[in-house]
């Protein structure tokens, strides 16, 4: 009487609805960092408000209720929006609280791609990294006996015998003829194994506040999610800089707060060095992201940066993205300098991120080229 299939269908419908909701609210999720905070290994928890059925009901805060236990009048039972107890309200099962749904990162990337209309990335021509595998996934009518598919052969023989009326249920002997024979066949599938490297660089000088870093954190999460869906092997490196640059792990990257001046060139130098030493130019798809508030130490340093970009970084990478986070202290000059020099460069993208709401559009600018 129970068909597990049935609940699977309803479950799938539920997932579809969830997906639709995420899609519609993507901009909101992208700006709030709700998702990034709840990341597991392969899944994220997406809090969905109100997926229940709306009905006429009382406004909660006026209602209160009856409870049981110790305590004096005036004692607190708990804080916040949720009601502590819900006696007797039994008629409808749907809970008041929002639901938390697990969504795989892969699916999230897919949703993101659809909603932001991100083009799939064309990896750099690294054909030689393709691996070719044989897979026995097809059936054909000829082949060596060692690959004979017994079940399929039997089936077609049975089909033929029933069709021609030679099948006798009392004496169910099946005799296959040559036409009935079925053999396994293989297909060559080539798996492109393009590798990608993402280098995140962030300005952690005194002028980058917590809010600015949070924006960078959220934005890099989404960039990461998208690029991971596009490449199989992906590596991330994290560089922070103020007047000097150093490489750190992911965790430190988002947490460190230094103070002091800003020499952007220090980061570019370090990045250039890493690329030169560790990543062969024709094997890696390199993505460079640099976030800063646009306040560089000196004009000299800025021109040093341009040189580094022009001479080392740009030729080695698929994409260089410069995101300028607005901060109350920064002058915001750097983006103008970058644009002045590279406005028409196809592999340079800049974006000004005024606040969290701008993350959505910024990502669109960064990844919209499909490079």
């Amino acid at each position: 009487m129970s068909e597990l299939n049935k609940i699977k269908q309803d479950h799938r419908r539920f997932k579809q609805i969830v997906r639709g909701k995420i899609k519609r609210n993507l901009r909101k999720y992208m700006s709030q960092g709700e998702i990034t905070g709840r990341q597991g290994k392969d899944v994220v928890k997406v809090p969905l408000p109100r997926i229940d059925i709306p009905r006429f009901r009382f406004s909660q805060k006026q209602q209160g209720g009856v409870g049981q236990g110790d305590g004096e009048v005036g004692d607190s039972l708990g804080q916040g929006e949720e009601k502590p107890g819900e006696p007797g309200e039994a008629g409808n099962q749907e809970g008041e609280h929002g639901v938390e749904v697990d969504v795989s990162l892969e699916e999230l990337a897919e949703i993101m791609g659809e909603e932001l209309e991100l083009p799939n990335i064309e990896p750099k021509g690294v054909k030689r990294l393709e691996t070719i595998r044989d897979r026995y996934s097809g059936i054909r009518r000829t082949g060596p006996e060692s690959l004979r598919h017994f079940k399929r052969t039997y089936q077609s023989a049975l089909k033929r015998m029933i069709a021609t009326g030679t099948y006798d249920p009392d004496d169910p002997v099946i005799v296959p003829i040559k036409d009935d024979m079925r053999y396994r066949s293989w297909k060559e599938t080539s798996l492109p194994e393009s590798n990608a490297l993402i280098v995140y660089m962030m300005d952690v000088s005194g002028s980058m506040g917590d809010e600015q870093k949070e924006i960078v954190r959220i934005e890099s999460f989404w960039i990461d999610t998208w690029l991971r869906s596009q490449y199989k092997g992906i590596e991330s490196r994290y560089l922070i800089h103020d007047a000097t640059a150093r490489e750190v792990d992911r965790d430190t990257f988002f947490r460190t707060r230094e103070s002091g001046g800003t020499m952007i060139s220090s980061a570019y130098k370090l990045a250039n060095q890493i690329l030169e030493e560790e990543y062969a130019i024709d094997e890696w798809n390199v993505y460079l992201f640099h976030f800063s508030d646009g306040d560089n130490w000196s004009v000299d340093d800025t021109s040093e940066c341009m040189k580094l970009l022009d001479g080392g970084l740009l030729p080695r990478s698929n994409l260089f993205c410069y995101g300028q986070v607005e901060s109350p202290y920064g002058s915001g000059q750097f983006i103008k300098d970058v644009l002045q020099k590279f406005e028409d460069h196809e592999r340079v993208t800049t974006s000004e991120i005024k606040n969290r709401d701008a993350i959505y559009d910024s990502i669109k600018e960064f990844l919209g080229k499909g490079l």
Partner: protein, 498 residues
């Protein structure tokens, strides 16, 4: 689904005999053994595996499965009000758990069979649900899942707007008045016969007749009295396609079927817990099992801080009733005793306890149960209190331990499932076939965001602007949705007699 293993089969027979011995009277009950996945699935469908397809069952399933996988919750039992009743046992539960569940189930089925509020429910609901499922699946094939599911969502938004007492009462009286109005004579001016056609010219009479007819038409309220069963009203009068009407009627039928379970939550669970304890501890368990039983029983009856557990409240009240009727702690004589010591030692040795609790399970629902049997002594003993939200501190706080307030608040939360009373007041509102609903305001406002969504759902059914009159911040209010946007305006709130 697996057959019940022989040793459990024997236990079922044994418990069944004990239950009959105690006077429980139930439908034939069919037990089936399921694993936790199946249990979660069946529970997602509210006990009916053949139910129509809908995403919310999938959501339910996801939540139950997660709860189980994370070890947070586990459904022990599931029983379906049907004749024969179906009950599901969870594979892998220990024996004492199974025994508890079996006894619990028999008491539930006794309650289904005998409680007055269940008397009108369909006892062939398992078949009926399968039938509903088949019908809805057919509509899905024709109309597409999106369309049908959206429509189901719409229906579910109003599935609490039914008249919970209507199965028992004939609501609709004679309706001859409009006809009578229409046949009213036009009053004529007095005139001698030969002057009549000049003083009362025919055109004038015709005109007057038309006017009267129009008046009759307008005076004819529609609906004639405020209609509690909004679902029924829409079913009969909203411009629905045939499949839509059928889906709406299915949703309404299921709402009525589930209603008594909501109306008797405290009693039903209390009754079942009362009996599983009694049956197991007096007749079934041996000494070695008592600890396990105490363990599961305490889990069933536990309440987290400050919460009221319906199982616990129900069972405690049943025990209190039994005790009071055994000792004669009721009636005028008892009420007049105010000497504490005498109250404590009062025992007239009437032994009416059992008889009384069986009578109570037959005739009462949660509201009348609490109203009649929740006593001041009981409330004090079980440390009940009322709580409310303190806007200033942002905390939920204990408000009072006064008996009157506790009772009032508890009753209010149970009456109509603690949901607002809504009526169809006028289906030709502003003479523009707009729908006007009336919220019977009793001190608690409607939740605004939900109300807006429900208005949208109503508009999908009615297809003309929909309105609801209610009160906010002590002022009358009219909420409107015209198909494009929501609007609100002040409106004198007058109570309607219903």
């Amino acid at each position: 689904m697996k057959p019940i293993p022989p040793h459990l089969r024997d236990i079922i027979t044994e418990i069944r005999e004990v239950a009959v011995d105690f006077g429980l009277d139930f439908f034939e009950t069919i037990f089936e053994m399921v694993d936790y996945k199946q249990m979660n699935e069946i529970a997602s469908y509210g006990g009916f595996p053949t139910r129509y397809p809908h995403w919310r069952f999938g959501m339910e399933y996801e939540q139950l499965s997660k709860g189980y996988e994370y070890g947070l919750s586990k459904i022990y039992e599931m029983v379906v009000n049907n004749d024969p009743a179906y009950a599901y046992l969870l594979e892998g539960n220990n024996l004492v758990d199974q025994k508890t569940v079996i006894a619990h189930v028999y008491a539930h089925v006794d309650f289904f069979k005998n409680n007055y509020y269940f008397s009108k429910t369909n006892r062939r609901m398992v078949d009926e649900m399968a039938n509903h499922g088949a019908r809805i699946r057919r509509y899905v094939d024709r109309q597409g899942i999106e369309k049908v599911e959206d429509f189901i969502d719409t229906c579910l938004s109003i599935d609490n707007l039914i008249d919970y007492h209507s199965p028992f009462i004939e609501r609709r009286g004679e309706e001859l008045d409009p006809e009578e109005l229409r046949h009213r004579e036009v009053p004529k001016f007095k005139a001698k016969e030969y002057m009549d056609e000049f003083i009362n010219p025919e055109e004038f009479i015709e005109e007057q007749k038309k006017k009267l007819a129009k008046e009759a038409e307008q005076a004819k309220n529609f609906p004639r009295r405020p209609e509690r069963d909004v679902m029924l009203f829409l079913l009969e009068h909203a411009p629905l396609e045939r499949w839509e009407a059928d889906v709406l009627s299915i949703m309404r039928e299921e709402a009525y079927y589930f209603a008594p379970q909501g109306q008797t939550k405290i009693m039903n669970e209390g009754w079942a817990s009362y009996w599983h304890s009694k049956i197991l501890t007096t007749r079934i368990l041996d000494d070695s099992e008592i600890i396990d039983f105490a363990d599961i029983n305490s889990r069933v009856l536990s309440s987290s801080k400050g919460q009221l557990n319906p199982y616990k409240l129900g069972v405690a009240l049943f025990r209190d009733i039994e005790d009071r009727w055994n000792k004669g702690k009721f009636g005028k004589e008892w009420d007049e005793v105010d000497d504490l010591e005498r109250r404590d030692s009062w025992d007239k040795e009437l032994g009416l306890g059992q008889e009384q609790i069986f009578r109570v399970r037959k005739l009462y629902n949660d509201v009348t149960f609490i109203d009649e049997f929740l006593t001041e002594d009981f409330a004090a003993q079980s440390k009940m209190f009322t709580y409310g939200y303190n806007r200033k501190s942002g905390h939920w706080e204990i408000e009072s331990r006064e008996f009157d307030q506790i009772k009032e608040k508890l009753l209010r939360s149970l009456t109509n499932f603690g949901q607002p009373f809504i009526y169809v007041r006028d289906a030709n509102f502003q003479n523009r076939t707009e729908l006007l609903l009336h919220h019977k305001y009793e001190g608690t406002e409607l939740r605004a965001d939900y109300a807006r969504e429900v208005l949208k759902a109503l508009h999908r059914l009615w297809k003309r602007p929909v309105n609801i009159e209610t009160v906010r911040d002590d002022k009358g209010m009219l909420l409107t949705y015209d198909g494009d946007e929501h609007s609100e305006k002040a409106r004198d709130y007058e109570r309607i007699s219903v």
